[in-house]
Structures are given as structure tokens and as C-alpha cells.
């Protein structure tokens, strides 16, 4: 490129910058996000995170905007694709804050991305509502980075819910003590299965099969055949969506019918019910929702109208609820003061579609650990003492 054209380019860039600055008379609130629209994380982000951002922005703008002080400010969105690459994501977040000068930044998708983003969000002073992050170190992290909040509960809380559910079923004489456990060999699978192994043993269960399989594997017939040969009462799988589908499909084909069929991420997807229809009945998984709650009822219907399909029943409603919390916190503070908003998110009490939300140590405790497909919905069944928990039903054999 010649010096002259370089100079022209610089001039054009400066002119564009000036134009943008001119347009930035604050009657809109700028909200940005960097999310995986391509690459391996795109599938997860496209189910749980991005649709909820879109629904929320539409809802806020349809209602005239967020009420800041005495004026209503509509949301202006700036979006980047992080290409499932944490370095790209960090660059984009930095760009959102320093060049686009957005007022708030919504978080990326997945545990790894959110943990990678935490230092930069903290440095820039933006609240980080890390909904799709799930780690046992949540308390340590929120102490280190007070702007960071967690929403899905700890892996250990999920395992507690699982053990509690199985123990109750055992006590009621519905199932025996034999558990077959399989897990995907990555951080999620290993953390969950380690915690489950301990918890189940403590509760007196006998683990008759305990193996992991490589990430991305969808050919799981060998795994299930050996699990089936061990004749367990429970199949407990910490799997990702493609393997969750493969495990269910294969179990059906080989006629593996344990009394409890528990599969991991993806069970709460509407696509699970869509694919397996009547065979989804009684299948358990992580997450769940209280479909009797008016907020959830409205939300599922509304999400379907806006996006064209139903939301998943684990992190989706919580993502939407976290955005409601952000909005209410901004409105209570009454100005674009990020430090004050962070404080309000951490200390305030909020009414959302999932009910009342009050963070403890920067963590949402209003969560479902275990859900079960019953009819057309994936209901929360544990923690057993949580309001709205449905009793567990017996899983029918595959059809």
C-alpha cells in the first residue's frame, strides 16, 4: 500500500471516528458482547446464550428501553464473533470497552471462556454475569473478582442433587444400589464424575462400571454394552450434547433399560424431546425448570415466538433472568455507573422469571440440579426441598 493511500485510510478512519462520537449523544445504552458464532463453541452458544441476548434486547426495546434516571434508553447492540478462541474473545472484549465504549458487556459462552474473560472484565470494571460457567472454585473467584457472578450452581451442588435423588429412590425401594457411570474425558466430565464417585460411595451406592470416553466420541455402543453387562439400576452419564444424544439412541437400540437413565448436558434441550419423542419420558439430566411458575410459562412461550423454537430448560431461563437482574440493577442505580451496578447486582434482591434471585457470595442459589422429562416438559426434581420440585416418576422401558 502506498503512503498516500495509507494516509487517506487514516483520514477516513479519523472521520468515521468523529462521526461516531457525534452520534453518541446518550439516548441509547450501548451493550456489547463477544460470543462464539463459529468454531466448536458455536453450537452451545447458539442454544443457550445468543438467543436469550436477542430476546432480552428485543423485549427491552419494545418496552421503550431501560429506565435510567428519568429517561428511557433503548439498547444499541455491538456484537463480535470470538470464533471459539479465547484470545479473540479477550481482544473483542477489550475493543468493546476501549474503542466502542459500550456501557455494558454481556459474557461469552462456556466455563472456559468465562474464566478466561474474568481478568479483563475485572480490569475494565464491567460486571460479568457468567451464566454458562460452572466451577467448584466459584467462591474463590468471586472473592478475587467482585464484578464476577456465577449463576448455574457449583458442580458439587449438582452432584449433591443427583446423590440425594438416587438415595431417596433407593430408600423408597424403587431402585437398588448399583450405578454405572460414564463421563466424557474433559474438565466437565472429570470434575463431575470425581465428585459423584465420592458422593455415591458415601451414600452407600456401589459403582459397578466407571469409565470415561474421549471428547467428541459418538460411537458409544462398546461403552454401553459393558455398562449393560454390569446390570446396573442407574446409568449416570456426564456427557455433552452429541454424546448425550448418542448414548440415548444406542441404549434404545441395544435395549439397555436401567431404572434410572441420567444423561448430561443436552438432556434439557427441546431437541432432545424432539428427537426421542415418547422415549424421552422419565429420562433425567442436569438442570430443569419449574414449568408451573408463571414467569417460566411466559418465558418459554415468548422465546418460541421470538426465536422460533423453545429454549433449553437449564441455562436458558437463568440467562434471561440474569439479564433481568442487570436491567433492574441499572434502573435502581439510575445512571450508567458500573461500580454501583456491580454492587447492586451482588447485594440486591430481584424478581425474575425464575422467581426471586438474591446472590450469595456472587452466586445465584436459585437452581435446579436434577430435572426429568415428564410429559412435554423437563421439570426440576432436585434439590428435593426446593419449592416446586416434582416427584420423580418411574422411567418406562424404551419403545
Amino acid at each position: 500500500m502506498s503512503k498516500r493511500s495509507l494516509a487517506a485510510l487514516a483520514l477516513a478512519a479519523a472521520a468515521m471516528g468523529a462521526l461516531c462520537a457525534g452520534a453518541q449523544a446518550q439516548d441509547t445504552i450501548k451493550i456489547g458482547w463477544a460470543i462464539s458464532k463459529t468454531g466448536p463453541f458455536a453450537a452451545g452458544a447458539a442454544v443457550t446464550t445468543l438467543p436469550n441476548y436477542q430476546v432480552w434486547v428485543k423485549d427491552v426495546n419494545d418496552a421503550g428501553g431501560i429506565k435510567v434516571g428519568n429517561k428511557k434508553m433503548k439498547i444499541e447492540v455491538i456484537e463480535y464473533d470470538d470464533r471459539s478462541n479465547s484470545e479473540e474473545m479477550i481482544k473483542a472484549v477489550e475493543r468493546l470497552a476501549t474503542q466502542d465504549k459500550v456501557d455494558f458487556i454481556l459474557p461469552p459462552w462456556s466455563t472456559g471462556m468465562n474464566l478466561a474473560a474474568a481478568p479483563i472484565f475485572n480490569k475494565l470494571g464491567y460486571p460479568q454475569l457468567a451464566v454458562t460457567a460452572n466451577t467448584n472454585k466459584a467462591t474463590e473467584f468471586t472473592k478475587r473478582w467482585p464484578n464476577l457472578t456465577f449463576w448455574l450452581g457449583l458442580p458439587s451442588e449438582i452432584v449433591d442433587g443427583i446423590v440425594e435423588t438416587f438415595a431417596k429412590m433407593n430408600k423408597d425401594g424403587k431402585i437398588g444400589k448399583k450405578v454405572a457411570m460414564v463421563a466424557v474425558a474433559d474438565q466437565f466430565g472429570i470434575e463431575q464424575s470425581t465428585a459423584a464417585r465420592e458422593g455415591l460411595k458415601k451414600a452407600g451406592f456401589e459403582i459397578v462400571y466407571d469409565k470415561s470416553y474421549p471428547f467428541g466420541s459418538q460411537d458409544l455402543q462398546p461403552v454401553l454394552k459393558d455398562a449393560q453387562a454390569a446390570n446396573p439400576d442407574v446409568l449416570l452419564a456426564f456427557s455433552y450434547p452429541p454424546d448425550t444424544f448418542a448414548l440415548t439412541d444406542t441404549a434404545k437400540v441395544i435395549g439397555f433399560n436401567p431404572k434410572v437413565f441420567f444423561v448430561g448436558v443436552g438432556t434439557a434441550f427441546p431437541g432432545y424431546k424432539g428427537k426421542f419423542q415418547a422415549n424421552a419420558e422419565g429420562v433425567m439430566g442436569i438442570g430443569g425448570s419449574d414449568a408451573a411458575l408463571p414467569g417460566i410459562k411466559w418465558y418459554i412461550q415468548h422465546h418460541k415466538e421470538v426465536i422460533g423454537r423453545e429454549p433449553d430448560r437449564w441455562a436458558s431461563p437463568i440467562t434471561y433472568a440474569s439479564l433481568q437482574v442487570l436491567q433492574q440493577a441499572i434502573e435502581r442505580v439510575g445512571k450508567i455507573d458500573r461500580a454501583a451496578v456491580i454492587k447492586e447486582i451482588n447485594t440486591g434482591s430481584f424478581d425474575t422469571i425464575i422467581g426471586k434471585v438474591k446472590l450469595v457470595d456472587g452466586q445465584n442459589k436459585n437452581i435446579w440440579a436434577v430435572g426429568q422429562w415428564q410429559g412435554n416438559d423437563f421439570f426440576g426434581v432436585a434439590p428435593l426441598n426446593k419449592a416446586g420440585a416434582k416427584p420423580v416418576i418411574a422411567k418406562p422401558a424404551w419403545q
Partner: protein, 292 residues
């Protein structure tokens, strides 16, 4: 005994899928000399095609192949003529063509992936078709997976006969062995290569349709299949149909055996160990001829 039989049959079915994925690439690489990194994207595109026909228009995937396979043939033919032909023309030797085609098709990969993302979105897709048990010699297998194996055998067999028994097939082999000399005997190399490349594309189209019946896929997943296909093709010997079939089945059986007898966590390790072993023992693959 039952366990051995179970491993063999399950492994055969898994291997059939690997072979099915690899057959098209062995044509594209073996004859047209293009290392097509966008290969897996065509597989996913075909899978989306099948999904759309099945869920949108209630056309069953097997019938859907009547639409998808010719579409894959045509689009691959166009890809060769429009995008790859300039690379073929300017390449001074085979090594240069390989490097250029890797870079070129790497770009094509992102274009196709991007189009699919915009059209279908990034989420995982899955549907159920022929997911019914079949009992063979005391082993339970899924009908849709057996179908993939059967198609792999048919496609592999027909191609083998075509290449070894017909005049046109002989011409294609001549192009594969020595393009310069083939030209001297009056073979139109450009047409032959384009045909081989497009046929490879048609086969991956069929593979995509069959695989969509039992695997969950997303627009971003193509590269997984490209990798697997490359391993099978290189193991079997580049351009060798029977080699691809046997290498695929070998991988399937070894993975199943290790999963059942040792640990399912080692299936990927055994794939690469086998790959490495074959390359050390026979650098040109199981059935490859030594390079001159």
C-alpha cells in the same frame, strides 16, 4: 466367543462408517491430486440437506440421496473447475499443487462453513431415522449404521471394478500414476481429474446423508470428518479403494476391541498408534505403491 463376535461385528459397522467417509477423499486425493481440506464441510452440507428434506418435506434420507448426491457431484465439479483449476494450471510439480490445494481448500472450508452457519445456524442438529435394532449372530446393531456399512461396501466395490475393469477407469488410474505420460496417450487430464474430484464429492454427499441418520452434527463439525478421512486414506494407501475399505474396518475393529477389552478412553490413542505403526512399517500406506 460371544464377546469376540460382538467386537468384530460392532467394529465392522463402525469401520464401515470410517471407510464411507474416506472413499471420496481417496478419489479426490489419489486421482485429482487435491488434498481437499473442505471435504468434511461437504459431508456436513449433505447432512443438512438430508435433515432439511426429512424434517421439512418428509422425504426419507435414502430417497433424499437422489437429490443430494447429484447436487454434491455438480458443486464439487464446479469447485474443481472454478477454484482449483487455476492452481492446477500454474503448479509446476505435484508438490506445489499439494501445497496450493491445501491452502486453497482451507479457504473454501471457511466459505462453506460460513454459508451453512448463516443458513442453518450454529446449533447441533439431529433426527431419528432407522434407529432400530437388528440382531445378527447374537449381536445387536443399529439398522442405520449397518446401512452405512453396506453402502461403503457397494461404493467401494463398484469404484474398484470401475477403475480396474473399464477403459475410463484405466484412464483415471493412468492420470493418478503419471499425469504427464497419460497426457501423451491422449487422455484429457483436466476432464479426468474433474470427474474424479466430482465423483469423490458425490460419494461424500452420500456419506453425509447416511451419517446424518445416526450422528449429531453442527455446521462447525466438518473438520472432524476431514481428519478421520485423511487418516484412513493415508493408512489405506492414497487412491486405493480397497485400501480405504480395509483401513477403515481395521480402525473400527481396533477401536471397538480396545474400548471393550481395555478402556474406552483409549479409542483415540489406538487410532493414532495404528496410524503411526502403519506409516513406520509402510510409509505409503497398507496398499500404496512406493513412490518413485
Amino acid at each position: 466367543m460371544t464377546l469376540t463376535l460382538d467386537i468384530l461385528l460392532s467394529g465392522l459397522v463402525l469401520g464401515g462408517m470410517y471407510a464411507l467417509i474416506a472413499l471420496g477423499l481417496t478419489l479426490q486425493y489419489g486421482i485429482a491430486r487435491i488434498i481437499n481440506l473442505s471435504y468434511g464441510e461437504f459431508l456436513i452440507a449433505a447432512a443438512f440437506g438430508a435433515l432439511f428434506l426429512y424434517t421439512g418435506m418428509a422425504v426419507n434420507p435414502i430417497l433424499g440421496m437422489i437429490v443430494v448426491v447429484p447436487a454434491a457431484f455438480v458443486s464439487n465439479w464446479l469447485l474443481y473447475q472454478v477454484v482449483l483449476m487455476p492452481l492446477v494450471r500454474r503448479a509446476k510439480n505435484q508438490g506445489m499443487l499439494e501445497v496450493d490445494s491445501i491452502l486453497g481448500t482451507f479457504g473454501v472450508l471457511f466459505v462453506i462453513q460460513g454459508v451453512m452457519l448463516v443458513t442453518f445456524g450454529g446449533s447441533l442438529q439431529s433426527y431419528s431415522y432407522l434407529s432400530v435394532p437388528v440382531y445378527i449372530l447374537g449381536t445387536t446393531l443399529a439398522l442405520n449404521r449397518i446401512l452405512a456399512l453396506v453402502f461403503a461396501l457397494i461404493i467401494g466395490g463398484v469404484l474398484y471394478l470401475f477403475l480396474t475393469r473399464t477403459r475410463y477407469g484405466t484412464a483415471l488410474r493412468a492420470v493418478a500414476v503419471n499425469p504427464a505420460a497419460a497426457q501423451l496417450t491422449g487422455i484429457d487430464i483436466r476432464a479426468a481429474s474433474a470427474l474424479a474430484f466430482a465423483t469423490g464429492g458425490a460419494i461424500v454427499g452420500a456419506g453425509g446423508v447416511l451419517i446424518s441418520m445416526f450422528l449429531t452434527f453442527s455446521a462447525a463439525m466438518g473438520v472432524v470428518f476431514t481428519m478421520k478421512a485423511l487418516i484412513v486414506v493415508i493408512m489405506g494407501g492414497i487412491g486405493n479403494m480397497l485400501g480405504a475399505l480395509i483401513a477403515g474396518v481395521l480402525l473400527g475393529i481396533s477401536e471397538t476391541a480396545v474400548a471393550r477389552l481395555v478402556d474406552p478412553g483409549l479409542t483415540i490413542a489406538v487410532t493414532y498408534a495404528l496410524f503411526l505403526g502403519v506409516l513406520l512399517w509402510r510409509p505409503t500406506g497398507l496398499f500404496g505403491r512406493p513412490a518413485r
